[in-house]
């Protein structure tokens, strides 16, 4: 049904595989082209913190052997490809001997959790405000107020985050500056822990929401105006239905259809979009992991996290591309 032909599916899957392959190649090349090699850098760092390291050269050679850095480049490339595709990113240099994929497995739920809170909030607030902006009966003061909440729209979310940290955490001390929960707490299903989690989450979530709900508001307002002119809206008024019922059951219900489609598209930025915000709030997600690994030149972790983010994004795009032809309201609304 719809435009979902075999030809279409094959095209999308090929594009997906190409994306993955190109990204892996870029990750590989960047690592080799970067000045200095990671092993020497790490050993240098170790010696800086611990004083003299004995047999430095031998250690470096041993590590190079271990990572296969002495192989010819093509051999390295093939091995690298195989490793990434099997999620074998090697040991992390900063948290040695922990494996990079362990670090990622620990960080990913935090990022996904953050995304799963922010995205529905953005969608809900954005569409609610858009609907209210367009509705004929919205009280004037509310209509004047809504655009004022949109001044942060299209600002980088980090900037909003920094402003929030400065104002609400640093100055007013209403919220903690960083971390996903209180220092020294152990994750558990207690009221204390959960309220600490929420307390710590408010600023990061707010900085992600405030910069992007405005797009949804504008989109929704446009769709509401279009829907307003539809014949079924006139008939709904003619029937003498209560205005609020007409608003949600006739106007919003139809205006929101394209917004739902757009929501699927927004899923693709779920993890990638919040990297910097996580970093400034020292949230325990992938974003913070990427940030620390870059600061510490932890190549294995950089490669692993980049790959995971790219993979997540590419899979989202693929899934959306595949369900897109089915999202047409006339088809999906049949409910079966």
């Amino acid at each position: 049904m719809g435009g979902l032909t075999l030809n279409y599916i094959i095209r999308r899957v090929v594009i997906f595989l190409l994306t993955i392959w190109v990204s892996i190649t870029i990750i590989f090349l960047v690592a080799r082209l970067a000045p200095g090699d990671p092993i020497s850098a790490m050993v240098a760092q170790a010696s800086a913190s611990m004083g003299v390291v004995e047999n430095q050269d031998a250690i470096i050679e041993g590590w190079k052997e271990y990572f296969g850095l002495n192989d010819p480049i093509p051999v390295q490339y093939v091995k690298f490809l195989g490793n990434l595709l099997t999620f074998n990113f090697g040991p992390s240099l900063i948290a040695f001997p922990a494996q990079v994929n362990e670090l990622i497995a620990r960080a990913l739920p935090w990022s996904i959790g953050l995304g799963l809170v922010t995205l529905p909030l953005i969608f809900f607030i954005g569409n609610l405000f858009g609907a209210l902006l367009a509705w004929r009966r919205t009280p004037g003061p509310l209509k004047a107020f809504i655009p004022m909440t949109m001044i942060f729209t299209s600002l980088p979310s980090v900037l909003a985050g920094l402003v929030f940290i400065f104002v609400f955490a640093f100055r007013m001390k209403l919220f903690p500056i960083s971390g996903p929960f209180g220092r020294g707490m152990q994750p558990s299903f207690t009221i204390e822990f959960i309220s600490s989690l929420i307390h710590h989450g408010i600023l990061p979530v707010a900085s992600l929401v405030i910069v992007s709900f405005g797009f949804w508001t504008l989109g929704m307002r446009g769709m509401m105006v279009t829907t307003e002119g539809e014949d079924y809206m006139t008939l709904a008024d003619a029937k003498g239905l209560p205005p609020f019922y007409v608003l949600y059951r006739y106007q919003v219900r139809n205006a929101i259809l394209p917004q739902v489609t757009a929501l699927a598209i927004a899923l693709r930025t779920l993890v990638a979009g919040q990297i910097l915000v996580e970093a400034i709030f020292s949230y325990r997600g992938i974003g913070t992991l990427i940030y620390t690994s870059i600061r510490n030149q932890d190549y294995n972790t950089i490669q692993g996290t980049s790959f995971v983010v790219i993979l997540f994004t590419a899979v989202s795009v693929l899934v959306i591309d595949l369900i897109y032809p089915l999202i047409d309201p006339r088809i999906s609304l049949e409910g079966n």
Binding site: Y232, T234, L235, D237, A238, K239, G240, L241, P329, R330
Partner: protein, 345 residues
């Protein structure tokens, strides 16, 4: 149930709807479009009044004015509409909402998008019922909807369908069923430039008429198909450029149209018996934002006189129940001197 002819005559003399000097304008950057320029007419109990006129003459706007559904940039500038003794134009929105559908319903004929695409058909009928009568149990509502379906000739399976699963004719029937759901006093059926084919259109119109007669509602039927009108309506009101130019019983106007525009309209009905050239003087309509002083039909009228360019002719009852807005006639309905002379020469 059955009325004696005497009762029917008596009922037919009661006015259910009175429209007085209704004016509706659309605001545009270059000035107001005067879509309805002050119209007066009455609708009698149980009667079907046909409102005809070419596209853009303001028929729908007049209907929406009566229904208070004119959307911005349009607005009702002036006028009174009285339904069963209640004045509607100045009534508050919340009071008028009680009257909507229970007394005054709309059947948007031919408009393919009048049903909410995201709601099942039955729900779009029951929401109107429940809005006016309060919550009811599902079985009662179902019975009522199915009874309405039977009246308009819809199969039961339509009940749970979505609008996009229906044919154009079925959507029309759903709209009719919806319109009569609460037995309104007056139904306005607006046939906008129709998307239905001619056969379906006529079958649907006949269904509407049958249902109307069964329920005894009064009806304003809007359209431009004069042939269809001839079979359906009791009286015809001819509209041109926002004004009513002639109102008369259907036989009278077909036999003896008096206004020059009605004459053109009726002469242009195609006929098999006699082939005649289309007699439509097209394209010389005035700018609706800036109507000329005097008669609105002057630019297209074959009999235009000096007087027509300065004085607007009022709608006068020249013969019994036959109203015309034209300077060609004396108050008793006879042609004036000048015109007879002109016609003779």
């Amino acid at each position: 149930m059955a009325e004696t002819p005497a009762e029917q005559v008596k009922r037919r003399q009661r006015k259910v709807l009175e429209v007085r000097n209704l004016r509706v304008h659309y605001e545009t950057p270059t000035g107001d479009v005067i879509a309805v320029a002050g119209i007066d007419f009455d609708l009698y109990d149980g009667e079907t009044l046909g409102l005809v006129g070419e596209s853009g003459s303001g028929k729908s706007t007049a209907a929406y004015g009566i229904l208070k559904l004119v959307q911005p940039p349009g607005r009702i500038v002036d006028g009174d509409v009285t339904l069963d003794g209640d004045e509607l134009v100045h009534m508050s929105d919340s009071n008028f909402r009680q009257i909507r559908w229970t007394k005054l319903a709309l059947i948007p004929q031919g408009a393919m998008n009048s049903l909410n695409p995201t709601m099942r058909v039955h729900r779009q009928i029951t929401d109107a019922i429940e809005a006016h009568e309060g919550k009811q149990d599902k079985e009662t509502l179902r019975e009522r909807v199915l009874e309405l379906f039977r009246m308009v000739g819809l199969p039961q399976r339509v009940y749970n369908m979505f609008p996009h699963e229906l044919s154009g004719g079925m959507k029309q029937r759903v709209c009719i069923a919806m319109g009569i759901a609460l037995h309104p006093t007056v139904v306005i059926a607006d046939e906008s430039t129709s998307a239905l084919d001619v056969v379906v259109q006529r079958v649907v119109a006949q269904t509407m008429l049958r249902v109307k007669q069964a329920l005894g509602v009064s009806m304003i039927m809007i359209g431009h198909d004069m042939g269809l009108m001839a079979q359906m309506v009791d009286r015809i009101a001819v509209m041109y450029a926002g004004k009513l130019v002639e109102v008369a019983p259907v036989e009278t106007i077909f036999d003896e149209p008096m206004h020059p525009y009605s004459q053109v309209l009726i002469e242009s009905i195609p006929s098999l018996k006699e082939r005649k050239p289309l007699k439509i003087t097209e394209g010389i309509t005035h700018d609706p934002r800036n109507p000329p002083p005097g008669c609105i039909f002057q630019l297209r009228c074959p009999y235009v006189m000096e007087r027509c360019r300065s004085d607007a002719p009022p709608l006068r009852e020249l013969l019994a129940r036959h109203e015309v807005a034209c300077h060609l006639y004396n108050d008793d309905g006879s042609l004036i001197e000048d015109a007879t002379m002109e016609a003779a020469s």
